[in-house]
């Protein structure tokens, strides 16, 4: 078409109101509609899943945030571990049903036993004093016959040579995802693979979050990191920054394979908590072939990396990784097998949790995690049956949960009608309000100042009513904390012994918050009678640092101001973004702040270290954000951390908690409760806050799910009909007017056949 022609016809190309075009368009729309409806057949119209998946044994879950790392050496966030824990098998795992949390073997043949040695290498008795112990050795034997999931990294030709370890640009020209490699292979898991992963903790190209901690314990790991750094510089200078560094060529003193199925980890001193780390993906096996495969040139540009395509021996393997849309786990055909636990807690029998005892795992064939960033679509898809479980957001809480007369949470009638049930569990975490002990007002400088500040902190501890906070702002989902250790973790005490006597009185068998007068008396003793500085007469003003929040949090901040107002203390809220907030905490510029901690493992050490002096944030970059330090507490911590759970250890913990309650470096806040909703077809669910490899235990009644989905999602067609009627009714007078005006015109549209206008009257 020439330019002139284009000029003339352009408006009509864009705006095709011509009758013929309209007719054609209508035809296309009709055909499209038919195709669309056909595509939906066999499935509810609003089903987000293909009809081919109907009735299949699939678990459907949503995820909001895309995981950053799936390499077990790096992944630490809960949303990442939810995936890696199904794929990788560390030597140990938590028993699914038993409480308190109990470690059992996973890939290990049996539970490893710590062997203690002195400086001369002499074996010590198990009850030896921690000061005598120079080294601890864990010798771990794995089950033979475990095989990796099918993966191209293992694929070999008839001569046993790897097919995909020397890829050229031509080889990967048409490769866009891992499944584009046509061959896969597998091999048996060996002890060397576990050693390989421990070495990777020190790899200079990988940023393992636990390297700093493990370098303090695993013998030689710190030096190993420097060795690898040197090797990296030497090797990479010649071969580029992504070249493969074969860790098998660099031995590590603290981790070695002693046979095909046994390896040994050497720990500096005594560190009983190390066993818990052995249940985390950080200590899962990694085959060297996988690392060799992924470090080939060109694959990273196609996003085919070890960080995104894990290679494990667990019950599932990641077959589709599109973190923008969907992650799919499928049953690993090479999984060595495991049986559903045959023992649990007394309640578990009644709850039917042991009905599958002894049956082979996993029960579910496939897990489809779809990305839904917003809570509203997530919640509605759960109600429609397209997600099998859901968390409860604050906006849907009232719709989902009600409290019984006894104050117990249960699902609402609407949820009950859908067969939805509620599972609750106190999280192994704590949300607290911290005081910066370096602050002159709330921490104190001189001895007298510190004493005064302690009383001030105690007074505030009484005044801030966390029972009310939990009730109003957490919908009752939490229990006010009496100390840093949450329920379910050894060291936590219930009843009167577990009650904080600074804040509560024990009355009629239950803790009752002290009256505000007690707080006012403490405040006066602190030198601030009625909230006024006794020396200057100035009102006491305190500063509360929080991360920038939305309008929804205004009420909770107002509530907090009111709590301080009970003591006539003015609370100034300093809101800032998370980066600045962290910066303030690191530099010790905050006065009062809110923070929380989720347990890594079920040991009190994992909470009590948050107030250990040498872990101070300021100067040491530790996790002690309050910068609290008490010599007796620190001494007891050192003593306690190396002990096994025992009455002696409990005594020490009790003393430590007493010190903390007296010094009140935190308002102990509350331990949140997790609420989860599950459809009737979702079975074998027992909330387990520390173990993440739970999908293998779950069961889905697919028949019931399909029936309910059909029942709940019948398309409602009358609105379409009504819309068409309204449209027709609205258009009819307009069309009539249009036709009338057209008839009244002298010259009307050209006839397409002749291109000549109709003429009417005498106007030409």
């Amino acid at each position: 078409m020439n330019v002139a022609g284009a000029r003339a016809t352009f408006p009509f190309l864009v705006f095709t109101l011509h009758y013929r075009s309209m007719k054609a368009l209508s035809k296309y729309l009709l055909v499209s509609l038919v195709v669309f409806i056909c595509a939906c057949s066999g499935n509810s119209w609003n089903s987000p899943y293909p009809a081919a998946d109907t009735g299949k044994n699939i678990l459907y879950t949503p995820f909001a945030e895309r995981p950053k790392h799936l390499d077990p050496v790096q992944s630490y966030s809960s949303n990442e571990i939810l995936l890696t824990a199904q794929i990788y098998e560390p030597p140990l795992q938590y028993h699914y049903l038993k409480r308190p949390y109990t470690l059992i073997p996973s890939a290990a043949a049996e539970m490893p036993v710590a062997q203690y040695f002195d400086e001369n290498g002499k074996r010590l008795h198990d009850s030896a004093d921690a000061k005598q112990i120079a080294y601890t050795i864990y010798e771990i034997s794995i089950k033979p016959g475990i095989r990796y999931q099918p993966h191209p990294a293992f694929a070999t030709n008839e001569r046993g040579e790897f097919l995909y370890h020397d890829l050229t640009p031509d080889d990967i020209a048409n490769v866009y995802k891992l499944s584009d490699f046509s061959h896969t292979g597998s091999r048996e898991l060996t002890a060397e693979d576990y050693v390989f992963e421990i070495k990777r903790l020190a790899h200079p190209k990988l940023h393992s979050p636990i390297f700093g901690l493990m370098a303090d314990y695993i013998v030689g790991l710190k030096e190993y990191s420097m060795t690898l750094q040197t090797a990296v510089v030497a090797q990479f200078n010649g071969q580029g920054s992504d070249a493969y560094l074969d860790l098998n060529n660099y031995p590590l003193e603290g981790a070695e394979a002693v046979s095909r199925y046994t390896y040994r980890i050497k720990i500096r001193g005594k560190y009983p908590q190390f066993m818990y780390w052995l249940a985390m993906p950080f200590f899962a096996p990694i085959p060297w072939e996988a690392e060799r495969f992924y470090t080939q040139k060109g694959l990273a540009e196609k996003n085919i990396t070890f960080d995104w395509y894990p290679v494990g021996t667990g019950p599932y393997m990641l077959t589709e990784n599109d973190p923008n849309r969907m992650m799919i786990l499928e049953r690993n055909p090479n999984f060595h097998g495991e049986a559903y636990p045959s023992e649990g807690m007394p309640d578990d029998v009644e709850a039917g949790m042991l009905a599958d005892a002894g049956r082979p795992l996993p029960f579910i064939d496939k897990v489809i995690s779809s990305r839904d960033k917003e809570s509203i679509p997530r919640w509605n898809k759960f109600l429609q049956g397209y997600y099998d479980a859901s968390a409860i957001g604050s906006d849907s809480f009232d719709q989902a949960v009600q409290l019984t007369g006894q104050g117990e949470a249960t699902v609402t009638e609407a949820m009950k009608r859908q067969g939805i049930r509620l599972e609750t569990a106190v999280a192994a975490s704590t949300n607290y309000m911290g005081f910066n002990m370096f602050d002159p007002v709330v921490g104190g400088v001189t001895k007298q100042g510190r004493e005064s500040a302690r009383k001030l902190r105690q007074a505030i501890s009484i005044a801030v009513d966390y029972e009310e906070y939990v009730s109003i702002f957490a919908n009752g989902r939490g229990i006010p904390a009496q100390g840093p250790i949450p329920p379910g973790i050894s060291g936590h005490r219930e009843g009167e012994k577990g009650t904080n006597p600074i804040v509560y009185d024990w009355v009629n068998g239950r803790a009752r918050r002290k009256p505000i007068e007690a707080a006012k008396a403490l405040l006066a003793e602190a030198g601030y009678p009625n909230g006024m500085d006794a020396k200057t007469g100035a009102p006491l003003v305190l500063y509360f640092d929080v991360t920038a929040r939305g309008i929804d949090d205004k009420s909770s901040l107002d509530w907090m101001r009111k709590q301080f107002q009970k003591l006539n203390i003015q609370l100034v809220v300093r809101s800032t973004d998370y980066n600045r907030f962290q910066d303030k905490i690191r530099k010790g510029n905050a006065q009062i702040f809110e923070w929380g901690w989720n347990a890594d493992y079920p040991d009190p050490e994992n909470f009590l270290f948050l107030l250990h002096g040498p872990q101070q944030k300021v100067g040491n970059e530790g996790e002690n954000a309050s910068n609290y330090s008490n010599p007796e507490y620190d001494r007891l911590f050192e003593q306690m951390k190396n002990m096994e759970n025992s009455p002696e250890r409990q005594q020490i913990i009790d003393r430590m908690i007493d010190i903390l309650r007296h010094d009140a470096p935190w308002l102990w806040g509350y331990h949140p409760k997790d609420y989860g909703l599950y459809h009737a077809w979702y079975g074998n669910v027992k909330p387990n806050r520390l173990s993440h490899n739970n999908i293998k235990y779950f069961r889905i009644d697919t028949e019931l799910r399909e029936r309910k989905r059909q029942e709940w999602n019948e398309p409602v067609l009358w609105p379409i009909g009504l819309g068409l009627i309204v449209l027709a009714a609205g258009l009819a007078p307009a069309v009539a007017v249009y036709r009338r005006r057209e008839r009244g015109a002298g010259i009307r549209k050209r006839e397409p056949e002749t291109g000549k206008p109709h003429q009417r009257g005498g106007i030409a």
Binding site: F15, P50, P209, E301, I376, N579, E621, V737
Partner: protein, 325 residues
């Protein structure tokens, strides 16, 4: 015309440098390289050594814009700003902080964005112009009056309301289409119906009024009176004369948008679970991923400039009087 286009392309270079400078400044006013490292390395157990190493590997261990520790031009070239900008102007977007290749992500996410934006754009253009012409045709009648009232009402409602309301009515109550999600190939169609309908409706108020104003202005001109005096029917006047003459302002608003369709919609993609570039940008802002934010802003500016050039070219197609010199 070629000279004109070359000149416009050259003008684009300082604009892109300026946009890059502003993006860089704004980003690093709010975030520091340490913040970025912490965001990527996590909250728990992050050591200062790990942060230093992370920054070194990604080139964030240098000064932002001026390096006092070196001599000569290196004071400017051995900085984060220079090193990151030069690569980007060569269309080497590098890697996101999570290690994924940005160019690859942009390529794969462009299609889902386009899958929503293009139907919304075309259908919207058709519907808005149709309704605007209808209101003009029935001007000064109850159709025109209530049409304007409806437009004002539609304009006054937040787009978020349309999204939530649409999801509630069409997906939750009537079960006609999925609430959110995306499929590959033709499976994507059923996921696009709702966002496209909502996209068209949410823009209807403002756009229809805008087109109506344009058409009314044209309707008052002499050539329209002449056409009527000649005895042409109202539809011929509207479609053959008014519409064609109103094309320049229509093109001004429409053609410039065409390249931007690739960038998707920030809110709609998040709510409908569409894995497009809008959603990618939001994720990058939330995770403080400067590499992605910078790449997306750069791409946005570039496409906008291309859109403006295309608009200029399109003027010459619809109006022979316009010459690009």
């Amino acid at each position: 015309m070629l000279n004109y286009i070359i000149r416009r392309v050259l003008y684009a270079i300082p604009i892109l440098i300026g946009v890059n400078l502003i993006t860089f400044t704004l980003f690093f006013v709010v975030n520091s390289p340490d913040d970025m490292a912490r965001m990527q390395l996590g909250i728990k157990r992050v050591t200062p050594e790990a942060i230093t190493k992370w920054k070194q590997e990604r080139g964030y261990d240098k000064p932002l814009m001026f390096n006092d520790a070196v001599e000569g031009t290196e004071k400017f070239t051995r900085t984060i700003f220079f090193e990151k900008s030069v690569a980007m102007f060569a269309f080497d977007f590098g890697r996101a902080d999570d290690g994924r290749d940005i160019a690859h992500e942009i390529k794969t996410r462009m299609l889902p964005s386009l899958a929503i934006a293009l139907p919304v754009f075309l259908l919207g253009l058709f519907v808005y112009i149709f309704f605007a012409l209808t209101m003009v045709f029935f001007r000064a009648t109850y159709v025109d009056f209530w049409g304007v009232v409806l437009c004002v009402a539609l304009m006054s409602i937040s787009s978020l309301f349309y999204i939530i309301g649409g999801q509630f009515l069409i997906s939750k109550m009537w079960h006609l289409v999925p609430i959110s999600g995306y499929g590959s190939g033709w499976n994507a169609a059923k996921f696009l119906v709702l966002p496209v309908i909502i996209g068209v409706i949410s823009g209807a108020g403002a756009s229809t009024r805008w087109y109506r104003t344009i058409f009314l202005e044209e309707m008052g001109k002499d050539y329209v009176r002449t056409a009527r005096a000649k005895g042409l029917s109202e539809s011929l006047v509207l479609f053959r004369h008014v519409l064609r003459n109103a094309m320049i302002p229509i093109l001004t608003g429409a053609v410039v948008l065409i390249p931007l369709l690739f960038l998707g919609s920030l809110i709609a993609e998040s709510f409908f679970g569409i894995p497009g570039l809008g959603s990618y940008t939001i994720d990058a802002i939330n995770s403080q991923d400067f590499a992605v934010v910078r790449a997306m802003v750069f791409l946005g500016s570039l496409l906008y400039i291309i859109g403006l050039i295309l608009t200029d070219i399109s003027y010459t197609l619809v109006d022979p009087r316009v010459r690009l010199e």
